[in-house]
Every structure is written in C-alpha cells, then in structure tokens.
Symmetry: D2
Subunit: 468 residues, 4 copies
C-alpha cells in the first residue's frame, strides 16, 4: 500500500476523496453553523482571546459536516488541527474537502480500507495506537521483542500491530515522544470511555482524559435523540422500506436503544427489545414494549438493530433463520455486534450489492436473503449522514470545553492520569447555549426559593448523581 499525502497551496497536508467538493461542503457548513448554536457561542466567547494558540489538536472522529463545524471552532480559538475519521464509512467527502482546503489537515474519505484507515490514524494521536505503541516500544527496549500481528484474530488489531512493528524499525521512540507531548484526551463514545476507565483501573492510562460521553448533554441527547433521528434516516435511505406495520427488534435498551425503539415505534412498527439488564427491560415494558430473547423472534421480525456495545449479538445462525429480506443493521460504535465474519464465510452464501452499504446476502439452502446495512458498521453514518447538527452541537460544545480545560490546566496539575467528567455547571451551560435557538424561556429562581432548596440561583441545579 502506498498512500501519498497531498498539500494545499499553503502547505497544509491532507488526503481526501475529492477537493473539488469543497464548495459544496462549505454550503452545507454554512447551514450547519445556524443549527449549532453551542459551537458558535464558543467562537464568540473564546475566539477573541485565542486560548488554543500554540495547541495542536488531533481528532479521530467521524469526518462529517458537524465535525467540520467543530474543527473550525477549534481553529477559530487558535488551534492547529489534524483530523482523521473513526470509521471507514462515516466520512462525508464534501465536508472533508472543505476542511482540507480551508482549515485543517484532514485524512479521511468514505469507504477506506482498514489499511487506509490506520494509515490515516497513525499520523494522529489515536488513544489506542499510542497506548499500544508505547507498550511495544518499552517491551522492545527491554527484550528486543516486536509485536506479532499473527498473535490476534482481530483483523483490525492485526493492522495496528503491523503499523507499530514496522514503526519500531524507523523510530523506536515515536509513540513515547507523542505521549510526552500529549496534554490529554477528550473522549465521547460509550465504548471509548469504557476502555479509558479500564486503563485507569489497571494503572496504564498515560495522560489525563475527560469523559465527554457522560456529560448529560452528550449521552442523554446525542445517543438518545441523535439515534431517534438517524436510525430511520439510515433505514429509509438504504432500503426505502415502510417501517409502519413491521416487527422491529432492538437489541439493547440503553440510551441508543431507547432512541432507536422510540423512532421505530413512532413510525408505526411493533417493537420488541432484547436486554440483559432487568432495569432497562422494565423501562421498556413501561413503554409498552415487549421484552423477548432474539431466539424468540428471529424468524418473525422484519428489522433488527443492534445497540449494545457488546459483541456477538446477531450471529450467522440467527441470520439463517430470518425472513426473506429481513433487514439487519448496527448502530453501536463497533462493528462486532453482527457476526459479519460468520456471514461472509458461510458456505455458499451469495452477496448481492444493491447499492453501496446495502447488501443482500442469500443463503444457499433457502434461497432467501437478508439485507445487511453498512457491512455491519454504524448504519446511520454509513447509510445516511449521521446525527443532525443541532444535537451534535451539544456533544461538540462539550468537546470544546473539555479541550479548553485540558489545555488551560496543562501546567497546573489539576488533571492527573485519570478519567474526569465535566462539572455539572459546564454541562448546564452547554444546554443553556442551545435553548435560544428553540425559543425557550427559562424560569429564574427567586432568592427565597434558592434558599429554601439550597440551590444557587445560577445553578448547578442538580446533584452529580441525578439521572435526568
């Protein structure tokens, strides 16, 4: 594989599909800005003082129109930004083009191979890569051992190990140098955050991390209302299927599952949820949603959506039993919820690509097929355009605030090598920045009410553990 970096006339590096889509990207960026009041308020509040002057920020996050507004908010605050996507299908090429041309170093396109994906990522500071890289360099220094890509079955991790192994030959301090420079990371996916906590617990976390995912204005908005919007959007763009009247199975009833189930129910489907957690199951029941196991319904449902964050949810053995043209898709962050490997290697199975990211897989015994979206990866980004701008503005305003915290406090020792969440008053601030656009008018506490409930007039209004 030989990929070459390109440069803008001003010398900034990039690699995108087609720079000529930059004008189209800019038009959509202009629209998105109107829908992202939190980010625009950050530009207004912080832009003049250029707080990110001297900061280099590397991002690994779906390279969409919304992300482009985030990137230009960071640059408007003085940062120098490099960006890659975190999913091979999630880049919007016109967004990447506009940013590459106008604002930041972008390495992302829709439909990367896994090799290309990690090539894009390597130039950046992706958390996993840096941790694995440092570990390998230290092992190499100690024992001369290099990582063995054959030691893993996971095709993606194989590539990671290859990159690190090959890197050791040219610079055995590369990742450690990166680590030294690194002030901290802000992480917004449920799965990424989980990994950070595991590193914190095992004492292997190399730098401070802010868990943006667990800001209320992230997890209870992006995950819930974002998916409520983008699940049906992805289904419709990929298959044009009528949702009303269908039986839809949602695996998992966390925030993402709740958003998906709500969307399907409202569109007229009969929704059935599978859950391992009795509390989430009872919540679904209270909304009139049946709780069954996948085995109970696999042969009568029309639409299957995985949202669990776990692996091995829908196996090829399930898929074989499904109705003809049952739709199978995943909206969880990683692509191992659906057993794509089992499907691809099923003897005699036939893949018919209807259009990109929409495949029909026909089983030889029955001649019936199932329709798999985005090859089992994030269907809302693979088949549609992901979450809409307004809800991403909430998530991304948290990102900007988190990055400002890490950068501003880089020398104060406020943040150790641990995982932090943003304090409640910043979470409330993010929400407040989004109310005006929707015409809302908040009530203000009187002094006497404030005294009575022992809550400051200006907030924070809830204890940390409040569930919303």
């Amino acid at each position: 594989m030989a990929l070459s970096v390109e440069k803008t006339s001003s010398g900034r590096e990039y690699k995108v599909k087609d720079l000529s889509q930059a004008d189209f990207g800019r038009l959509e960026l202009d629209l998105a800005e109107v829908e992202m009041p939190g980010l625009m308020a950050c530009r207004t509040e912080f832009g003049p003082s250029q707080p990110f002057k001297g900061a280099r920020i590397s991002g690994s996050l779906h390279m969409t129109i919304q992300t482009a507004v985030l990137i230009e908010t960071l640059t408007a605050l003085g940062a120098e930004v490099r960006w890659c996507s975190c999913n091979i299908f999630s880049t919007q090429d016109h967004a990447a083009a506009a940013i590459a041309r106008d604002s930041a170093a972008v390495f992302a396109w829709k439909g990367e191979t896994l090799e290309e994906y990690w090539w894009c990522t390597d130039g950046g500071d992706a958390t996993l890569l840096i941790h694995e890289g440092v570990k390998a360099e230290e092992e190499f220094e100690k024992s001369g051992k290099v990582p063995d890509p054959e030691s893993t079955d996971n095709p993606e991790f194989k590539i990671v190990l290859t990159i690190i192994r090959d890197g050791l030959k040219t610079d055995a301090h590369k990742y450690r140098k990166m680590k030294e420079r690194l002030v901290g990371v802000s992480e917004e996916t449920t799965t990424g955050v989980k990994r950070l906590y595991q590193m914190q617990e095992s004492g292997t976390l190399l730098f401070p991390a802010i868990n943006v995912n667990d800001s209320v204005t992230k997890s209870k908005f992006d995950n819930l209302y974002g998916c409520r919007h983008s699940l049906p959007d992805g289904l419709m763009r990929a298959t044009d299927v009528m949702i009303a009247g269908k039986v839809a199975v949602v695996c998992g009833y966390g925030d993402v599952g709740k958003g998906c189930a709500a969307a399907l129910k409202q569109a007229g489907a009969r929704v059935i949820v599978t859950e391992i957690d009795p509390i989430c199951a009872l919540q679904a029941l209270m909304e009139g949603i049946q709780i069954l196991t996948l085995e109970d319904v696999v042969s009568e449902a029309d639409i299957f959506v995985t949202t669990t964050g776990n692996k091995d949810i829908i196996m090829v053995d399930h898929m074989r039993k499904m109705k003809n043209n049952a739709i199978v898709c995943n909206i969880g962050h990683f692509d191992n919820e659906i057993d794509m490997n089992g499907l691809e290697t099923y003897p005699g199975v036939k893949r018919i690509t209807i259009k990109p990211q929409t495949d029909r897989w026909v089983f030889p015994e029955t001649k019936t097929g199932i329709i798999v979206l985005a090859e089992g990866r994030l269907m809302n980004l693979g088949c549609a355009t992901g979450h809409p701008s307004f809800v991403m503005s909430c998530s991304f305003t948290n990102q900007v605030i988190a990055q400002l915290e890490l950068w501003n406090e880089k020398a104060t020792g406020k943040y150790e090598k641990k995982v932090y969440v943003l304090p409640k008053h910043l979470d409330e601030k993010v929400a407040a920045l989004h109310l005006g656009k929707l015409g809302a008018r908040l009530t203000k506490l009187t002094k006497s009410q404030s005294d009575y409930i022992s809550i400051p007039v200006e907030g924070p209004y809830k204890p940390a553990a409040y569930r919303y």
Copy 2:
C-alpha cells in the same frame, strides 16, 4: 426542442436518462416486490388468464420503483403499457431504465423541463390533454379557431395549448381518435379526482372514470401513512435538519396533513396546523396540536409544509418574514401552494443551490435566507423516493382492480361517462391481501353474529359512508 425517441433491441420505444441503470433498478424492483403483496397476489390470481390481452394501458404517474412493480403487474396480466411521469422531479431513473429495457415503453427522467414533460405526456393519453385536445379539435372544425397559448398566464397550460395547436396542423382528429379508443381511466390523486367530478357535473367527461383515490385503502393509507413516512424522509435527505425541538407548521389537516403532522410530532417537533375547515381543526386540537393562522406563526416557525390541494398558501410576503434558514416545502400534488413565481421574481432575491432540489433563497433586505425544497413541487418525490412500497401496493392494487373492471366491462355498458368508486368488497379485498405480510390473523364472524348484525360473514363489513 428536438427530443428523439429511442428503441430497445425488440423495437419498444422509450426515452429515459440512462439505460445502463437498468440492473440497479432491477435489484430494487426485486426488493420492492417482496413489499408489495397486493400486486404480487394480482399476478398470481389473474396472470394465468391474461385478462389484459389486447389492452393498451397508458400511465401518467410518478415513474418510481413502486410504479415499476405496478407496470410489470399490468404486463404480467397481458397489457401493453406506455408510461410517463406526472411530475418533473419524481422519476427514479433506475426504475425507468429497468422498465424501458424489460417491460414497457417509458418516457420519463428526473429533472424534465416543462416542455419535455408534456412531450413525454403527449404520446400517452393524459386525461387533461385529451379533453382539451378534443375540445380544440371540435372548435377548429366548427370555427377554424386554434387555441392561443397566450390566452393563459399558467406556464404549464401554455405548453398544453401549444402542443394542441401544433397538433391540429398535422392531424385534426388525433385526440378524437384517442378518445374513441379509450375505454376509461382510473385516477388516484385527490386533485385529479376533483377535476373528474367537475367534468362529470358539467357534462364534459368523455369516458368512464374510476376514482381510486377514494378507496379507503388508498386515501386513508397512501395519503396518511405514506406521507407520515416520506415527509421526514424528504426533510432529512434534503437538509439533514434535526426535527426535534423545532416549530413546524403544517398547512392543511386532511389525510396528507394528518400524516405530516403525526410524523413531525413524533420526531419531536412542536406542530402548529393551519386550517379552513372547523372539523379538521377540531381533530387537530384533540391531538394536542395548536390551530393558528400562517400570519400568527410565520416569523417563529422553523419548518413549513403545505398539504392543502389549494393554491397561494405560502406567498413570497410570508417567506420574507421567516427566520433565517426556515425550510419551506410542499407535499400536495400541485406546485402552486408555494408562491414560487413571487419568490423567483422578488427584486434582488438570490438563489443558492445547495444541492439538486435544495435551494437557499436570500432576501436582499435582511440577508437571511429560506430553504425551499424541490422548487415547491412534491418534496417527498423530489428530495427522497416517495412513498414506500408497502403502502403503494395498496394504492396500486386498487389501480389494477379498477383497470380490470373498466376493461372487462368495456362492452357491457356497466360504466357510463361518469366517475365511479370501487365497491366496498373490493376495497376490503385490497386490505386483506396486505395482512399476511404483517403477520395479522383476522377474526371470523360466526353465523349467529352475522345474523345479529346483518352483515355477511365474508363482508362487506361497513356501510358505504363509513369513515374509518
């Protein structure tokens, strides 16, 4: 304008965008067939006897994947079919290609000019054209007068008159010959049906017509549930806007408006309806929807949808007062609900095309813009793919049944030059054909129950005036 007809190797005529998309169209046709049990049941029930043997059927209806399944149902029953679209933006080019290559004479592509549209239509038997043509020929025979395209302000009707006028020169009996041959027409749009009843009342209707629109399985399904599906689909594909939290105005609360309001409400918008009819208004109120006039809300709403079937609903003077990036679109059959002419001719207005069928219009005074979808035409077909297959299967099964009725009874005199609706038992049959796919199990009347309520065990189950 010089458009030339093309021919398949078998000699069938067509004019489509790109015949090479036929394979893609066929793949989507295969999927659609599974979702259209009513049409497939017609093929099974009637195909063997070839009832349409000798019949030539001309269709003027959005040339989509769903329509393609209808066309191939008609050909499977023995008909020779010619098709054009009924909207310049509504053709799906891959559907047109598949049909042109495999099944019928198609003249349709997405993005026709008005001249091209009527050129496509003229070869067929469009109801309006034939009525105007016959009128003109008779007048010409009587008085030698030819129609004057300058006698109308309507740009589309101008073209119709031009076509007829020019036709008189070459064959002054063309439309009368067409009329003689014509056995009858089945019509499925609310607006088209209205026009037929007006002709019936004025005694100018030239042939029998079956009003398919007022089959319950059409108007209460396609109009309502179809729009509930395709309105948000169109909004999302065109603008990616987050619907939740927005203020959405739906003009009109008929079946289409009910579907649109339900979709927007379920997606988390605050919906306001405008209505002239107090009964429909009271229905909206019972669902928690506010009834106001457009003037009351024009400057605070984010999304405007017209569904009235009337003209002059949103005028340029309204549009000038809207918020920046307010979205304005129409899902009613005709394109005169939104004052596009007023907008286009507004002094100093600037049109920025974001992408096809999504334009931002900027007013010179305020520099704020509004986003107009599909140039004011049917946004669900212009910006998305229209109604999904399952609900169109209901509508189109009515069409097949209506065409069968007209053809089978062509010599019996059963149908006079009037407008008819299908009898209740056929309407119920259409519904019944769609239950199995959704796993439904109907209850059967016992003999004693049937006697008690004086309703036959096999139906029809409701009086003709029942409202559902």
Copy 3:
C-alpha cells in the same frame, strides 16, 4: 313491582334516587356549562325566540351531568322535557336530582333493575317500545292476539313484551296515540341508528329520524376521543390497576376501538386488537398494533375490552382460560358482547363484589378469578362518569340542531318516514362552536382560492363522503 311517581312543589313528576343531591348536581352543572360551548351557544342563539314552545321532548339517554346541560338547553329553548336513562348503571344521581328539582321530569337512578328501567322508559317514547307497541296493538286489533313474553329468551325483551301485553288491557291505542303525536326522533348511538336503518329498509319506520351518530362531530369525536378519555378513567376508578406494562386486548377497531386502543397504548400497555374487517385491521397494523384472534391471546392478556357492537365476543369459555385477575369489560352500547349469562350460570362459579360494578368471578377448577366491570355493561358509565363534557357538547349540539330541524319542519313535509343525516354545513357549524374555547384561530379562504377549488368561502368544505 310498585313504583310510585313523585312530584315537585310545582307539580312536575319525577322519580330519582335522592332529591337532596340537587345542590351538588347544580354545582357540577355549573362547571359543565363552561366546558360545553356548543350547547351554551345554542341557548344564546335560539333562546330568545323560544323555538320549542309547545314541544314536548322525551329523552332516553344516560342521565349524566352532560345530559343535564342538554336538557336545560332544550328547556331554555321552550321545550317541556321528560327524561329516562338508557342504561341501568349510567345515571348520575346528583344530575338527575338537579334536573328533577329545577327543569324537567326525570325518571332515572343508578342501579335500576331491568323492570324499573322499562317502567321509567314506558312513560316516555322510546323508539323500540313504540314500534313494538304499535305492532302489537295492530295485531291485537286484527287477531286478538297479545304478545307472549315467553316467546323470547332475551330477558329484556321479555319485559318489553310484558309491558305491552299488560298495556293492551287498559288502552289498546296507547302506542298508536303516541305515534300520532310524535314528530320525529334523533338518535345518537351506532347501534340505535343501525336499527333505524333496518326499519327504514323494511318499511316499518313510523316517523322521521335524524341519525346524529353519523355527524362527523359525533362519531369521530364522541366515539373516538370520548372513549380515549373514559376507558382509562373507568379502569382506574374500578380497579386502580397499572395499565403500563400490561397486555391489553381491544375487540374491534372502529371509532370506539380506536379510542380505546390509543388510550391503552399511550398509558404504556402493549395492545392487541381483534378484528373481522381487513381495512380496520390494516389501520391498526399501521399504528404498530398486533392483530390476532381472541383465542391466540386469551391466556396471556391482562385487560380485555369489547367495542364491537356485536354479540358473543367474550364467552365464558374464554374467561375460564384467562390469567388470574384479568380484567374484562365492555364499552360498546349493548351488554351482550360479554357472555354474562354463561358466566353467571357456570357451575360452581363464585362472585365476589369488590365494590359496586367491580366483581371478581372465581372459577371452581382453577380457583383463579377474573374481574368483570359494570356487569358487562358500559364500563365508562358504570364505573366512571362517562365521556367528558367538552366532547359531549359536540354530540349534544347535534341533538339540539336535529330536534330543531324536526320540530321546525314538522308541517312542511321536508322529512318523510326515513333516516336522515344532518347536512355538512351544520356539522361544520357544530365544530366551529367548539374552537374558541380551545383558543383556535381558523384560516379563511380568499375569494380566488375559493374559486380555484370550487368551495364556498363559508363552506361546506368537504364532499359528503369525505372520511376525515
């Protein structure tokens, strides 16, 4: 049975439970008037001209607070009114007391026996009684034959025949004299209307009838939104059961069934519908509601509601198979949807009255019980207070308008011995009278719009067959 009529100080006859509840009734009447703008508008518009001067109006309709406002609207327009209920459990005793004391001759109380019920009715002009009475008198005159109560199994019809038979002894022209005096009848129940059409068809209808039920502002409001309100109200008052999480079966998906299903779904139940009509079934499916037969679900559901207007829907054999404490109730007009006779005569069954209108029936084999509401009669009136005032104002404004029509046209011959529906413009007027209370602002057609769609600016806005 010896029931004696009582008299007010002014000499008006009545028979109610407890006249001392009149003050309480008056307080609730005052509240109800504010919620019944249609009736109050009738008083304002017609009161001054006293159009019912000289008219005697007999009503047979649930004697509730809402009916009381109707009665006082009739008396405010000059009528002399006599009233009985049309259900043994549906009278609100304080409403009856207030009317008896202040306005009209009332014969009704909550918990009448069937004998008492028909004693109350006999003094009035109930449609069934008068038709049967006239038939019997004519037969008696011709052949000397008297009706034989033993000729029927129906316990209620037995009483009707007894009353008629006994009446023949004292006055063999009683019902015929009634009939002569009778100007016409307005009927508002689905079942009552059905009976009228059957009489019309068989040529036995003795006077003009206006079918108020099929006014849109009746059937699509009272039946639908009324039941959506009063079904959960009745369930809660009778059983305090949590609806969320339960499996609820609604038998029938007409207007009443649609209202019930909506209410249960919104309260968090999983709703399953049984239907004979494929069109209604398909409507339910489009709302995500499963269609099964009663047999499919009888042993897993928690709540059963009958809404069919048919008989023999839930039989004792179904009830035996139900879960312990399953709730069984009927909201259809007649009490033969649930097999109460089968239940009462089931060998060894034990009835435990929890409170009035809430009984637990325990089967001997299983020792499990089911809970039957209102003895199988209208549960919303038996266990709660029926439909709320606002929606009844729509229905009853239709009644007032219908009675005015019949009375004003009594000498003109406009109405023959047939069944009529009110014209569309009156239906629209009823709706319009209810908009102001809800703060609605209607849009007005412009002249040019009116011309374009050929609809008068002031309506009617829809063709007669429009389904809403």
Copy 4:
C-alpha cells in the same frame, strides 16, 4: 384536642375512621397482592427465616392499599409495625381499617387536621420530629429554654414545636430515648432525602439512613410512571374535565414532571413546561414541549400542575389572572408549591366546595373562579388513590430490602450516621422481581461477552453513575 387510642380485641392500638371497612380493604388488598410481585417475592424468600423478629418498625407514609401490602410484608417477615400517614388527605380508610384489624397499629384517616396528623405521628418515630425533639431536649437540659411555637410562621412547624414543648414537661428524655433505640431509617421521597443529606452535611444526622428514593427502581419508576398514571386519574376523578385540546402547564420537568407532561400530552393536551434547569428544559424541547415562564401563559392555560419540590411556584397573583375554571393542582410532596395561604386570605375571595378535595375559588373582581384540587396537597392521593400497585411494588421492595439491611447490620457498624443508597445489584434485583408478571424474557450474557465488556454474567450491569 382529645384523641383517644382504640384497641383491637388482641390489644393492638389503632385509630382509624371506620373499622367496619376492613372487609372491603381486605378485598382490595387481595387484588393488590397480585399486582405487587416484588413484595410477594420478599415474603416467599425471607418469610420463613423471620429476619425482623424483634424489630419494631414505624412507618410514616401514605396509608394506602399498596402501603398495606408493604406493612403485611414487614409483619410476614416478623416485624412489629406501627404506621401513620404522611399527608392529611392520603389515607384510604378501608386500607387503614384492614391493617388495624389484622396486622399492625395504624393511626391514620383521610381528612385529618394538622393537629390530628401530628398526634398520629408523635407516637411513631418521624424523622423530623425526632431530630427536632432531641435538639430541644438538649437545649432544655443546657439552658432550660423550651421551643417557642410562635417563633415560626409555618403553621405545621408551629404544631411540631408545641408537641415538643409540651412533651418536655412530662419526659425530657423522650426523643433521646427514641433515638437510642433507633437502628436507622429508610426514606423514599425526593424531599425527605434532600433533608437527610442536609443533616449529613451539617453533621446533625442522628442515625444511619438509606436513601431509597435514588434507587433507579424507585425514582425512575414510581416518580415517572406512577405520576403518568395518577395525575390524569386525579384530574378525572376530581373534575371529569376533558384533557384533550386543553393547554396544560407543568411546572418542573424532573421525574415527576416528565411523568405528568407525558400523561397530559398523550391525553391530547398541548403541554407547556416551566423550568429553571437548562438541561431538563432541553429534554422537554426534544419531546416537542414548549418551555415558557408561568407569566407567559398564566392567562391562556387550562390546567396547571406543580411538580418542583420548591415553594412559591403558583402565587395568588398568578391565580387571579387565570381563565375561568382553570384547574390548579400540585403533585409534589409538600403543599407549599401553591400559595394556598395567599388564596385563602385574598380579600373577598369565595370558596365553593364542589365535593371533598375539589374547591372552586371565586375572585371578587372578576367573578371568575379557579378550581383547586386537594387544597394544594398531593392531588393524586387527595383526589384519587395514588400510584398503582405495580409501580409501588418496585418502591416498596426497595423499602423492605433497605430495612433488612439496616436491621441485619445493626450491630456490625456497616452503616454510620450517613445517608446510603442501595447497591446496584439490589436495585437490579428489584427490577428482576417485576419482569415475570409482565411476561418478559431476559437475555443472558455469554461468558465470552461477559469477558469482552468486563461485566459479570449475573450483573451488576451498569456503573453506579449510569442514568438510565
């Protein structure tokens, strides 16, 4: 005031309205047991070992049918129980009678005066009383000072001080002796919990406390789904008002407010929320609910509900501006959300009691009135029967588990004088106990999935801070 304690034949003390209602109470208790699987499972699991042998449990909680099942669960586990209500209107007298006769010492009736309420409470160990009592006794011992009831404006606290002051004369160690005996308290109201945390912070908490309110299976079920059920129930029983079409204002969008808003919206009202917290406000907006201030809507809304837990939400000055017959009610725990004092002392205001707990207050200037429910106290318990059994089973199973914890660990020092929440696995257990009744089938983690996400197969499934 002279209230005398009564005794059962077995010598157990009580004071209830009418012991003869015990049979009726028992019938409803039997029904409730079927709906409370969590409590019944506790009886099965723990009953045989009699863990509460020797424990005396005092409860201060609405004395309803559901509470009765809780009480009998505690006695089934060996406890000796004494109970009073925590609201003057919330007792169901038949429940109190059944318990008094059969199971425990009850001091509660519907419609207590404040004096009676505190008389009932004093014999028990109400948290507030004991803390104030101990404080007063210590102050008295030190300085001889007795509490002065005139030192407070709060009429209720005046009574508390009077009781304590009077008690000092007869036994100046009463409350300290109580405190010594007291093993701990479990608290389930949002407001009560808040007070406990304040005492913990100020170091004045006298014994361990378990915060049951913040169990997910309490606050996200009882508060949310309980209110979604009981708010419309209370509105309907008190006023019979049609909710559809009305404008309803919900003050506060916490769990209780979310439940209320959902109920009103589903019933067809147009809901407007007032909020101080921008996050909760943004949640409401995402559901299509408008956020305004009370001042914005006070004169156009029909129904007002307070849910804030704060004071002075609806003041008499608001009430004066409301529409005629606007309904004003509170579903928050305390009765100071609505300015009842301001209303009662408004010059010339007139109170008309429609029926118990439903009053119309008429203002002298306008002659228009508003309808206040339950005198501003908890309307769902004052006007209806509170939350239904099933959801209370979740809350009360937490109570039983908490009490078991406190009692079992009384000698181990596990619990200090602090506020604790139950561990996640007990919360999940409570949920699990309620799934079977609703027919749910949970999915089980495989070993490999469990390893992948580092979550035990048997749970707990979520981190402590998870928000559900």
